[in-house]
């Protein structure tokens, strides 16, 4: 599998100026609103510590809580399935659908099903799938993955959506009025709720104590999908567990504040038992999570509640767009979990960061994202996944900087040399620094040379 070239993809993203400017401003606006919400809660930092502690406790006792959840969910009348990996998840879902004679499935937002590449798997087996979250629907119609875990089509302008709808659901491609587009999509999608024999959701939280799960949304689509058909399937990553219902409040207070800068999602639905005559199937999915849990440096990435705050604040993500990461998970959280899926393919991602640490500071569950990015770089170097040029540059730099003599020769020659080089040699496409930036002018002498002339003598 070829490596994702984040720098190249981001270069293309930045060239589309209107899109790039909008993307940055839109997501910065979410970050700003998030700041407003968090500043208004005196206990915000306390909540973060509490959320982190609850998640770390749960992850440290995950096996027990998963079994407790299974017992209680089963007692409530839900059917619980276990899936080791993406393939098993897709198989399980397909079997459930097949046994219920389902040909059309309406589904709400779920990063997990994207991670498992479920849609193409089921479509290849003759099942029609309709994404019902507006952003996800836009992305489905455009045959593109989501670019953000909360606002999947944030990289698109209104005019892009009008074009996609014009091409796929027959609206006027020249009309980019938001109300028109939203209403058209609604009219187009609504009949599928009635036609579908099954609805699918993800879950934001699963509660061991009650055997229930919670879905937080803003559009009402998940509730229509879960309640109109007689079959509801929920795919849930095993890290979504919380021990007790009393813990839920901590997270519900933080999720939407972190994600969108709103106090709470419009709808917070608790699913506990199927209505008479209907069925709820829960698929608990591992797909690499157990392995991640065993990684000393990276297990806390499983605390993630998928709020997207790290993406909204990330200056690199905002200026490169989610699709440039070439993975289901983008932005800072993607950078630290993608390499667990495929180290080689995603080996450029930990370098798509300035290590500024803003992600860590906004994370509601206190994942030390920047420290994990730093750590991944070491693993990538140790496993020989650095690009040859970088590897060689660091080897040479390490040699020169470890030797006072070589170092002095290098800085003094470089300073003197730069002066004499013609501009065309300094500012060429091979000098990444000089492409869009001026190179600092060479001073007449280094600091050390000045020091020897002006201070030495007196001291050691």
């Amino acid at each position: 599998m070829s490596r994702v070239d984040h720098a190249e993809a981001s270069s293309r993203f930045i060239k589309a100026k209107d899109h790039a400017e909008f993307h940055d401003k839109r997501l910065w606006d979410l970050r700003r609103k998030r700041d407003g919400e968090t500043q208004a809660l005196p206990e915000w930092e306390e909540l973060r510590s509490l959320a982190s502690a609850i998640k770390e406790h749960t992850l440290s006792h995950l096996g027990d809580y998963l079994e407790e959840f299974e017992r209680n969910a089963s007692a409530n009348g839900m059917v619980v399935h276990w899936a080791r990996d993406a393939a098993e998840h897709n198989q399980v879902v397909h079997e459930i659908l097949e046994s219920h004679g389902v040909t059309t499935l309406v589904k709400s937002k779920s990063m997990l099903t994207d991670e498992c590449e479920m849609r193409p798997y089921l479509e290849n087996r003759g099942i029609e799938i309709v994404e019902t979250d507006l952003g996800e629907r836009i992305q489905q119609l455009d045959d593109e993955p989501p670019s953000h875990i909360v606002v999947p089509a944030v990289h698109k302008l209104r005019a892009d959506v009008a074009e996609v709808f014009g091409r796929t659901i027959g609206t006027d491609a020249a009309n980019s009025d938001v109300a028109y587009l939203a209403e058209s999509q609604r009219r187009h999608t609504r009949p599928y709720y009635l036609k579908a024999q099954a609805g699918m959701t993800g879950a934001n939280f699963a509660i061991a104590e009650t055997g229930s799960f919670v879905v937080c949304t803003n559009e009402g689509n998940a509730d229509l999908g879960a309640n109109l058909p007689d079959l509801h399937i929920a795919s849930i990553g095993i890290e979504k567990l919380l021990p007790r219902i009393e813990h839920l409040g901590v997270f519900v207070r933080m999720l939407s504040r972190s994600a969108l800068g709103s106090p709470i999602t419009q709808i917070t639905s608790h699913f506990r038992a199927p209505r008479p005559g209907t069925a709820i199937h829960v698929v608990l999915v591992d797909n690499g999570r157990s392995e991640r849990l065993g990684m000393d440096d990276f297990w806390t990435s499983l605390k993630c509640i998928r709020c997207g705050a790290c993406m909204n604040t990330c200056p690199v993500y905002r200026r490169s767009g989610g699709l440039s990461y070439g993975s289901t998970y983008s932005g800072p959280i993607g950078v630290i979990i993608d390499p667990t899926f495929n180290l080689r393919k995603y080996s450029s991602l930990p370098f798509a960061s300035t290590l500024n640490g803003s992600c860590t500071s906004v994370c509601p569950v206190k994942i030390d994202i920047h420290a994990q990015i730093y750590k991944w770089r070491q693993i990538i170097a140790e496993r020989h996944q650095l690009p040859m040029v970088k590897k060689e540059a660091m080897r040479v730099a390490g040699k020169i900087l470890a030797s006072p003599k070589l170092y002095r020769a290098a800085v003094e020659a470089a300073a003197a040399g730069l002066e004499k080089l013609p501009r065309a040699l300094v500012y060429n496409p091979f000098n990444a620094w000089g492409r869009q930036r001026e190179v600092p002018a060479a001073p007449p002498q280094t600091f050390r040379q000045w020091y020897l002339k002006n201070r030495k003598g007196a001291r050691r």
């Binding site: 981001s10 370098f351 300035t354 001026e438 600092p440």
Partner: protein
Amino acid sequence: MKVALFVPCYIDAFFPEVGIATLELLERVGCTVDYPLDQTCCGQPMANSGCHADARDTEALFASNFAGYEHIVTPSGSCAHHVRDQLTAIEQTPAVQAVRSNTRELIEFLHDVVGVREFPWAEFPHKVGLHIGCATLRRLREASTSEIREPAFSKPARLLGAVKGIEIVRPERVDECCGFGGTFSLDEEPVSAKMGRDKVADHLAAGAEYIVSPDMSCLMHQRGCAERAELPLKFLHIAQVLNGTAR
């Protein structure tokens, strides 16, 4: 108070005036300054690239150059952060641990250790945008950040604010990263340059004539972006202002 001065490689080579201002400022506040002559770099460029094996000898050289000093001061937040928090490629002997914990960025040394609050020799009647590098801000915690709910404080702003005539202006995205990020500036040139352009434009819009920072590497990048865009902005290390070198 005796201190050892660490002048990072890029300041030694490209910005000797920053090293000079730092040295003079330390002398002004009563320090006796040693400059170990065999110093090169702290190892950060290699370590930040994941290449710990390549950082080892440079880190060892740093530790031996600065062994035995009670105060090691550097005009660079990211270098101080590397030494204090990440200089782990070499064996952690008691001597190495002492060097690490004794290393301070210039502002935190002046603010926390010497306790300087006034700079009567300095005057800077200009509008200044203050840029605090991300390592200085979020790792050394020299100021509160916009992400955390905490009482506002800023050691660099407090010291800078004591300079006669200075006016500190506030850009809209007050602590967004400028996009330097060490080798990031080369690996991810398109995003790095875009971040740099956005950063200097934000300061300019706030009315800044100068961007002043405890982090010269950020300024090297920002200045490069501003000069290419021909923006009327000037760049100074905070030591140059506090020392009264720049007026």
